[in-house]
Structure formats: C-alpha cells, structure tokens
Amino acid sequence: MSEDNEVALLEIRNLHVSVDERLILKGLNLTVNKGEVHAIMGPNGSGKSTLAHVLAGKSHYAVTAGGVTFEGEDLLGLKPNERAAKGLFLAFQYPLEIPGVATMNFLRTALNAQRKTRGEAELTTPDFLKRVRGEAAKLNIDQDMLRRSVNVGFSGGEKKRNEILQMALLEPKLAVLDETDSGLDIDALKVVADGVNHLRSPERGMIVITHYQRLLDHIVPDIVHVLSRGRIVRTGGKELARELEAEGYSAYQEEAA
C-alpha cells in the first residue's frame, strides 16, 4: 500500500459517460493506489466494460462530466496508444480477431512502439523472441499460436490467455482485466491467475472485473467494489465478494434505483 502523500496510480472523480446519448456511468469515483488489487463486480449492463473502455481511450464514449488522472496526469486527453505507453493495459472482455496480422508481429510492434514512445531502445529480435517464448511457455501458449493471425481461430480460452501474454510482455503499471476468467477452464484459470499474480508488485495496480468468486480465490483482491447502474454503490474487503456470491445483487439494484 502506498504512502498517504504519494500520488494515486489512478484517480477517477465523478465520472459521467454516455454512449449514443444514453448515460451509462453516472458519477463514478474510484482511487487505485500502487500495490493495490481492486475487484469490480456488478450486474450485467451496469457499466463495467464501459468503464474499462473509457479508461483505455475508446472513442464513441462521451465523457460528459468528471475526470480521470493517471499518476497525477490527466488521462482523458491522451490517445489510446499514449495511455498504453504510460502503463495502462486493458485485457478485453471480447478480444478481437485481426486477420492477416501475425501474433508475433503484433506483439513486437506493440512492445517496440511503447518503448519508442517512452524513449527506450527497441528490443533486438533475439531478445524479443526470448522474452515472448518465455512468457508464452508460462501461459501454455504454443509457438504455433504465435505464428497465426491475432486471435483468428483461437478458442475462447486461448484468446484470454493471449491477452495475458500481451500483459506479461508489456508490463503495465495498471492492468484492467475485464472478465478475463470467462471462457477459461479450471486449469487455464489457474495458469492465467498465476500470470496475473506474477505481475503483482508494490509498484503496480490492478482492476479485476469479474462475476465470480473463483477468480478471486486465485487473485486475492485488497478491495472489492460493487458497480450498479453506473455508480460504485458499495466498497469492502475481499469478504464482500463471498457475500455477493451468496446473496446476489438485488439489494444494490434496488438501492441504486
């Protein structure tokens, strides 16, 4: 946990976001300090992915009020690639297929683009290959998958593992994992959770969006939030997740109504 006077990794204040004129986030507040893992749970359609996309910089979402800072700097004025280079990573709930772009080329282009933006030297091919192969092996991703087009023909679980591979390579300061557990079998869940835990450090933060306690058994959060109808309606410790699993969201949906 960070010192009180240290600037927060992520600070979201009174965030209002609308999509196609429809208000989805309605005054959301959230602070993530370095070293913290936050879980966000909440009913379908409550705005969890919207929050994730707005943080990553997807256009089409209009921020109508409020703001977000990343290490004290305004985040919302930055382009998605600039946010990534500053250390923000979103593992997509639905990773996209990119026909014709080989996974290996994609990974290398992404890593080197971020390094370039940060004024770091590009990785040499042997260094890059060594790193990719090492990380891929830890996630049980075979070489053949890396040669194929990004996510094309990958199973649901393979796509999720590919997201975590990208995260492992890019070593973000803040990782937002949007339902990374959905579509994973029990063994894959363990592998993915190990990958995530490996990245946990006093310097990094994480936001884990999930519907299920079983992911939080592996990635134990420091703080759990309930997002309902565009607002965080309750915040607690890791025991809150168990309570939700037992009782559902009905109390919060009424409360928020």
């Binding site: 910089g57 256009s59 089409h60 382009k79 998605p80 690639n81 990534a84 996209l96 772009v101 683009a113």
Partner: protein, 382 residues
C-alpha cells in the same frame, strides 16, 4: 554493341522512379532472383539493353518488329487471330498502332527457371503515345515465370496502350506478375489476353500503384478441360488516381477451377473500379469459379465501383462471387492502439493485412515478397 544491362540502374535516358511504386526495388529483387531482363523503351524492344545471353533450351526471344518485317507466319497468325478481346476498342487501337514488342516462345516441355522480366520503360521527354504488343507462346508442359514492370520518368506526360497475349499449351505452368508503376501523369491501358490449354496452370497478379489513370483488362479463356486459373490484384491509390481492373473469364471447357481476388485501397479522392465477368459455357460442366473483390476506403472522398457478373449456361457448376467495400475497422484500430501502436502505424498494419490476403495468393515466394515490399513502401510514403 554495348553490353546488356543487367543491373537496375540502366533505365535509359534518365528514366527514374515514379512516385509511390518501387519498380527499382522490385527490379533489384528480380535481379536477385536471377531474372532475365528484357527492356522495352517507349514501345520498342531494345535488344542492346536486354539480356539475351545463354538462352535456356527451348526458349527463344525476338522482337515483334523484326518478326512482322520478316513476315513470320506464326506471328502474323497470332496477331490476326480471334481473341476474347475482339471488339474491345483499346485492344483494337493497339492492333492498329503497335509496331514492336517482345516475342517469347517456349518449346514443348521447356522448363525455364530464371524468371523473365519484361521492363517497359517510358523515357520520352516530349508527350507521346506508346503502343506495344508482346506475344508469349508456351508449349505443352512448359514452365515459366513472367514479370512485367511499367515505369516512366516522373515528370513526363505519356500514354501507354500495352497488350500482352499469352497462348498457354496443355499442362503448361505460367506465373505472371504485372507491376504498374508509371509516372504520376501517365495514362496506362493494358490488355492481357490468355488462352489456357487443358490441365494447364495459369496465374496472373496485377499490382497497381502508379499513373493518373490505369486500366488493366484481362480476357482469359479456358480453352481445354481441367485447367487452373488464379487471377489476383492489389491497387493502392491516392490523390486523384483512378485504376480499373476489368476481367472476362471464359470457361469454354469444363472441369476448370478459377479463383479471383482483387483488392483496392483508396486514399484521398482516388477511385477504384472492378468489373469481373465469369462466363460458363453450356458444356463447361464441373466448373468451379469463385471471384472476390474488396475495397478499403481510407477517405470519405474515395470511391469504389464494383461490378461482378456471372453468366452461367451450364447446370453442374459451382460459381460464386463476393464484393465488399468499407473503411478501416474502428474496433480493430482501437485494439491495436490500446496496445501502444500509434494510429498511423495501426492503420498501416490493417491496410497491409487487407492487401496481404490477396498478395498471399501469389504462389512463388520471391514474387510474393516483391509485391509485399511494394505494399510496405507505399504505406511508408503515405
């Protein structure tokens, strides 16, 4: 006689690289593949600049002007023969005005490993019209790779009406690649006529980047059973460029397989046209023909026109066509950018992937690389 030019600097009379395209890079590539370079300058086959040494067994190369002057019967018969392009005004104009070109003949069974590079160079310092006709005859069971490149001095004004006629014998194997560079102001009309014998394999890929106005027309006829025809193309256009790929594929005999994949990338206020007609004649049963054309529009001012046509007169056939036109997928671009890739680079990756799907249909790795490098060069200059 000066020694034949084997390097790529030998573009005569100061003809240098036109915009965007990279015929010079392609030329270096071809040289590395050991290509035999034949140079046609302003419509005249320049023997002195061409590599005519140590012709492979069964290969003969000559000038059309010479053959016409000598009244060579085979050549006169070919020039006068009926083709699928009969009635086409551009081809008729070529027939009327052409005086020279390259005549290539492969004897039955001749296997020519070195690609043959036909370099059409437009070097004229004053505006002019250029007409050339090349006749390529491939004997039964023969095998060859033919690459055409067309380029011109950057600031020059000219128009080209070029025709290349292929007669492909039974069981022969021909891979053809046409690289259209040309100067920014050039008008380029090219007609490709091909008659494909039984069980032959014919592939032709057209890459367009240069010229103000380019029309590539292809008249391909399956003239025997069981042949395989692969036609493909990529056009990369910007500013006010216009490129048109028009093809007529005539399945006159049954049991032939044809595949077409044409892609066009349109920036600024450029315009791309694709017209593809597949004819399946009444007795051409078991024809398997599939055509796809796709346009990627990078600007709201760009225009893509697509006209696929199927004329099917046989009942036991598989034929299909598809056409799409659209902008860069915003979600894919966001995904790439969310990984740290700047917008322009993300777009370049997606454009390259789009064009790459067609480029992948080129079977020969060396030729594929030439085209892919040219795509990348165009994207870098964008």
């Amino acid at each position: 006689m000066p020694p034949p030019a084997r390097n790529c600097r030998a573009s005569p009379r100061g003809a240098t690289r036109p915009s965007g395209a990279s015929p010079r890079a392609a030329c270096a590539h071809l040289a590395a593949l050991g290509a035999r370079r034949l140079v046609v300058v302003d419509g005249h086959f320049d023997l002195a600049l061409s590599d005519l040494d140590a012709l492979e067994a069964g290969l003969s190369i000559g000038s059309l002007a010479r053959a016409l002057a000598d009244g060579e019967r085979n050549v006169l018969a070919r020039v006068g023969a009926q083709t699928g392009a009969d009635g086409d005004p551009a081809y008729a104009l070529n027939t009327a005005f052409m005086r020279d070109g390259v005549v290539i003949t492969l004897a039955d069974g001749a296997i020519v490993e070195r690609p043959i590079h036909l370099a059409f160079v437009h070097a004229a310092s004053s505006p002019r019209a250029v007409f050339a006709r090349s006749l390529i005859t491939i004997g039964a069971g023969a095998k060859v790779m033919i690459v055409e490149s067309h380029e011109g001095a950057p600031a020059s004004d000219y128009q080209v009406n070029n025709a290349t006629d292929f007669a492909v014998g039974a069981r022969a194997e021909v891979a053809h690649l046409k690289l259209t560079g040309e100067a920014a102001n050039a008008l380029h009309v090219a007609t490709q006529v091909a008659t494909i014998g039984a069980q032959a394999r014919y592939s032709s890929f057209t890459f367009n980047v240069g010229g103000a106005l380019v029309r590539n027309q292809m008249f391909v006829r399956c003239a025997g059973e069981g042949s395989t025809v692969d036609l493909g193309g990529v056009s990369l256009l910007r500013q006010r460029q216009h490129a048109d790929n028009t093809l007529v594929l005539d399945h006159a005999f049954g049991g032939c397989v044809s595949r077409e994949m044409f892609k066009v990338v349109l920036a600024d206020s450029s315009r791309g046209v694709f017209q593809g007609k597949i004819i399946v004649r009444p007795h051409a049963q078991k024809t398997d023909a599939r055509m796809m054309s796709q346009a990627l529009l990078l600007s709201p001012d760009a225009e893509a026109d697509n006209k696929p046509e199927l004329e099917i007169f046989a009942d036991d056939v598989q034929c299909g066509h598809g056409a799409t036109a659209g902008a860069i997928d915003a979600d894919l671009k966001f995904y790439l950018m969310a990984r740290g890739i700047p917008e322009a680079q993300a777009e370049a990756l997606l454009i390259q992937a789009f064009a790459g799907e067609a480029v992948e249909t080129i079977a020969h790795a060396g030729l594929r690389e030439i085209v892919m490098d040219a795509v990348i060069a165009w994207l870098k200059a964008r």
